[in-house]
């Protein structure tokens, strides 16, 4: 039963199991892995290379690499990762200066692009290619193989059956062969050969059937592994060609799909600005719903951004973006990733000159949309200082007895802005890029009251409030516009990633659930105990690996024997005793 002409990776153990299934895989006597390969000194460098390649493509090394891959993936879930949360990495480095530096040196904050993680999966895929390609070639050659010849004796097989019938041996083999082939001519269940044998071993001339099924098992296995390879290539190409931009857009405003219009923009190495489709988009309005029942008070229930898209050809249409349904424009998808309030803030300086006017996005920090924001006011009039306003926007504010304010609901039912005022050199004239959401107050002078407490200004919509220390006034617009954080992503590889994933799934299912079985039948004319002429039929089955359905397969073939005299149940499990 040896598998001639098949490529077998070093160390694989999935052959057809003869004899009892219990002699197979898990006999406890089986020892640990033997050191493989011939001894080194006699090899020479070519032999050495061949040996290394053979090792790399062996099952054992593939297994080791898989285990390593699992272990190597874990640190990325424990330690903060730059790709996911760069701020958390900085915080970690601040908290653990020594350890953090060493971890950083070994790439533990970018595990999935680190040298060691990449080395593992690249080796794994090299091993996979080295194993799968020869196997695919061998499988392609073997696709037209015929089932192995009917063995001389059936006794040693794990599943057997016998019966006698009044039908002739020719009729028996025709009927059983037809049953094994199944109803579909083009796609037979079993590949079947019908043959004849000369008299031997005390038997007269016999008719035989040799049948094998499960060629698809190896096909599925190979499709699965090749699809994984395709998946890796697709993901890599996607990384090279993708782009993604993030933009904050307030109600009534819009943005154009151009690199400069995004707040942040990531791109792959093969990205060209020409691949940005020149459309633009306006945010008409934004709706949000929150639960008001006591059980889930203030939990988000729905977010919808109503937008108008202007296509490159000038055509316009209205659409909407929700959390689970991105908007697709020219192959790029636009996601709704966040939302908040962008109050309209106007600051006039001590000289009465307009120093700042604009919508300032405040970033929500909790479920009640207690939102933090920063206004950096430049010095426009002579002799004025730069002003920094830092504070919170509270959609539904409650001011406690002690004067502290908090938000109790995420919708703007009673909006209030609470601001602290700083003055000094904000660094706005240095030309160094700054984070617009942070104000470094270390070098600035806060405005304080007589007790030395930092002054907190409370501003309601439509109100104008004097800034302390004669710095001017601040005005909050009557309407509080909302903003949405949009994420636009273009990745031409998506369809391929999906295709290869589904191919892998299909190949996996086929390779795991297709039984690989061989069934043989032998039939000859004889006489029964009463001297009547009958046809004797013997069946045997063999499976690759442990196969619970093998006996049933043999029994079903037995049931297909025409006119067999006895109840098949008497014969089903006879010959297995040894």
């Amino acid at each position: 039963m040896s598998e001639k002409a098949t490529y077998r990776p070093e160390g694989i153990n999935d052959a057809f199991v003869e004899g009892r299934a219990d002699a197979g895989p898990s006999s406890p006597a089986e020892g640990p892995a033997r050191p493989a390969g011939p001894s080194l000194p006699t090899l020479g460098w070519r032999g050495m290379l061949r040996w290394t390649w053979r090792q790399l493509t062996s099952m054992r090394v593939a297994l080791m690499l898989l285990m390593l891959l699992a272990v190597a993936a874990v640190p990325g879930s424990v330690l903060p990762q730059r790709g996911q949360d760069a701020a958390a990495v900085l915080e970690y480095l601040g908290d653990h200066p020594t350890l953090g530096e060493w971890l950083d040196r070994f790439g533990f904050f970018e595990v999935y692009s680190s040298v060691w993680f990449s080395a593992i999966y690249i080796l794994l895929f090299v091993s996979l290619v080295g194993c799968i390609v020869p196997r695919t070639l061998a499988h392609a050659r073997n696709l037209r193989n015929r089932p192995p010849r009917t063995p001389v004796r059936f006794g040693r097989f794990p599943a057997t059956a016998e019966t006698s019938t009044t039908a002739s041996p020719d009729e028996v083999v025709e009927a059983v062969a037809g049953h094994l082939r199944g109803p579909l001519r083009r796609l037979p269940t079993f590949r079947v050969d019908v043959g004849s044998e000369e008299p031997r071993l005390g038997r007269p001339a016999t008719r035989t059937v040799a049948a094998e099924r499960g060629y698809l098992r190896e096909t599925g296995n190979l499709v699965f592994h090749l699809a994984l390879l395709g998946l890796l290539v697709s993901v890599a190409l996607g990384q090279l060609m993708h782009y993604r931009g993030q933009a904050i857009v307030t109600e009534g405003r819009g943005f154009a799909n151009a690199v400069v219009d995004y707040d942040t923009f990531d791109k792959g190495a093969w990205f060209r600005p020409a691949s940005l489709s020149p459309f633009s988009m306006t945010l008409d309005s934004f709706d949000s719903e929150f639960a008001s029942d006591t059980v889930a008070f203030a939990q988000a229930r729905d977010f919808t951004a109503h937008v108008t898209v202007t296509e490159p050809d000038g055509g316009q249409h209205s659409d909407q973006i929700k959390v689970n349904s991105p908007l697709t424009v020219d192959g790029a998808k636009i996601y709704l990733q966040g939302n908040g309030f962008a109050p309209e803030i106007t600051v006039k300086d001590g000289a009465g000159e307009m120093a700042f006017s604009g919508r300032v996005p405040f970033l929500p920090e909790d479920t009640m949309y207690t939102s933090r924001g920063v206004v950096k006011v430049p010095d426009v009039s002579e002799g004025q200082e730069q002003i920094g306003l830092v504070g919170y926007f509270l959609p539904t504010a409650v001011v406690d007895q002690d004067g502290s304010a908090r938000s109790v609901f995420p919708q703007p039912q009673n909006p209030l802005m609470v601001l602290e005022v700083y003055r000094g050199d904000l660094g706005l004239d240095d030309g160094v890029p700054q984070n617009v959401y942070r104000l470094d107050t270390a070098s600035l002078t806060p405005s304080v009251d007589e007790d030395g407490e930092t002054i907190k200004l409370l501003v309601k919509p439509g109100e104008t409030v004097e800034l302390p220390d004669g710095l001017g006034t601040v005005t909050l617009g009557q309407d509080v516009p909302r903003y949405v954080a949009l994420d636009l992503r273009y990745d031409p590889s998506l369809a391929w990633v999906l295709t290869f994933s589904l191919l892998a799934l299909a190949g996996l299912a086929v390779s795991l659930f297709t039984p690989r079985r061989r069934v043989w039948v032998r039939s000859w004319e004889t006489t029964d105990d009463d001297g009547r002429a009958v046809t004797h039929v013997e069946l045997a089955g063999l499976a690759r690996g442990d196969d619970a359905g093998l006996q049933r397969e043999v029994d079903k073939a037995l049931a297909a024997v025409p006119g067999h005299a006895d109840d098949p149940d008497d014969h089903q499990r006879t010959a297995t005793e040894d």
Partner: protein
């Protein structure tokens, strides 16, 4: 809220029924052990052959103890009670899950408490389904035991009131992705039990002095390590395919909801780790020197990863999959 309270009562009812089932299964295993010990004394060899010559798993019919007709029905009374209380407990649990869904007005698997209910239900359903055609009652004590443990943990630690879900979860993929993930977990649970029994039985067979004590005689009543390995493999193969689908479905959903199909979120990392561990298990089975006991250890490690992915990742790490419902999400999901 009344429906939600009724649901909780039903879960307690299910836990009670399953506890009775657990005791009955244990009694059945113990009684059958005594019966087998007698038979064992009579004829040692037939037992070994009888138990070993069948690649399929049907201990009740292959072992002489079950063949000597007269006393067999009396001995299996405990098994009958165990099976009926398991059916009852599973039915109560199903009713509890349905009521929970009605109370929340959505698919009842969107937070840890609900995962626990549905995961236990899936494990029980797989166990009961396996028993329809063949006798796998030896798994009963362990499957019901784990289910009771999970249910009581869920009621006491993970419980949250029934309510709606945030926008990111409002999608048909919640039904598919999470439903398939829980099914896979249920199947992995039963396979884990089979692999543990395989290892313990194998150690006893190969003469571990600790496992020779009389308290472990019941181990002779479970199938051979080879049969258990085959059972574990068949279950794990199904579980692995479902897990693969879970990951693919999750990636499609992540692409819809978060704008990327894969982002190494802690839950994604651990789902990947689980996938790789079970993939390694499938490779180990067919690698010379790594099959049998060694391969079984992969199942144990894989299942521990499944448990950690469900508990640890939800509670310890702060990722996009923090849907335990036990902590408040800061951004409201969008």
């Amino acid at each position: 809220m009344q429906i939600a309270e009724l649901s909780v009562l039903l879960v307690w009812g299910a836990a009670t029924a399953l506890t009775i089932a657990l005791v009955a299964f244990a009694i059945d295993l113990g009684r059958r052990t005594e019966a087998r010990a007698e038979a064992h004394a009579e004829a040692r060899t037939p037992v070994a052959v009888g138990a070993a010559s069948r690649p399929t798993l049907a201990p009740a019919s292959t072992v002489p103890g079950a063949r000597d007709g007269a006393s067999a029905p009396a001995r299996r009374r405990a098994a009958g009670i165990a099976m009926s209380t398991t059916w009852l407990g599973t039915a109560l649990l199903l009713a509890a899950i349905v009521l929970r869904g009605l109370a929340a007005g959505r698919t009842p698997w969107a937070n840890m408490y609900e995962f626990t209910l549905v995961g236990s239900f899936m494990a029980l359903a797989v166990f009961l389904g396996m028993n329809v055609r063949k006798d796998f009652k030896f798994l009963g004590a362990f499957v019901t035991g784990l289910s009771v443990l999970f249910l009581v943990l869920g009621l006491n630690v993970f419980y949250v009131a029934a309510t709606g879900v945030q926008p990111a979860l409002q999608n048909y993929w919640l039904v598919i992705h999470v439903g398939v993930a829980i099914s896979a977990t249920g199947i992995f649970t039963v396979a884990f039990v089979a692999s543990v029994l395989q290892l313990v039985r194998d150690s006893r067979d190969s003469g571990s002095p600790y496992l020779q004590r009389p308290g472990f005689r019941w181990l002779d009543r479970v199938p051979t390590p080879t049969s258990l390995e085959a059972l574990s493999f068949r279950l794990n193969a199904v579980g692995f395919v479902l897990w693969t689908f879970t990951i693919i479905g999750g990636a499609i959903w992540a692409e819809h909801a978060w704008g990327r199909y894969w982002g190494w979120d802690p839950k994604e990392v651990w789902s990947f780790v689980i996938w790789v561990v079970y993939a390694a298990y499938l490779h180990a089975r067919t690698t010379r020197g790594w099959d049998g006991r060694r391969a079984a250890w992969f199942v144990i490690v894989g299942y521990l990863c499944v448990l950690f992915n469900f508990t640890g990742v939800n509670l310890i790490f702060n990722g996009k999959h923090s849907y335990s419902g036990l902590n408040t999400d800061t951004t409201g999901g969008a």
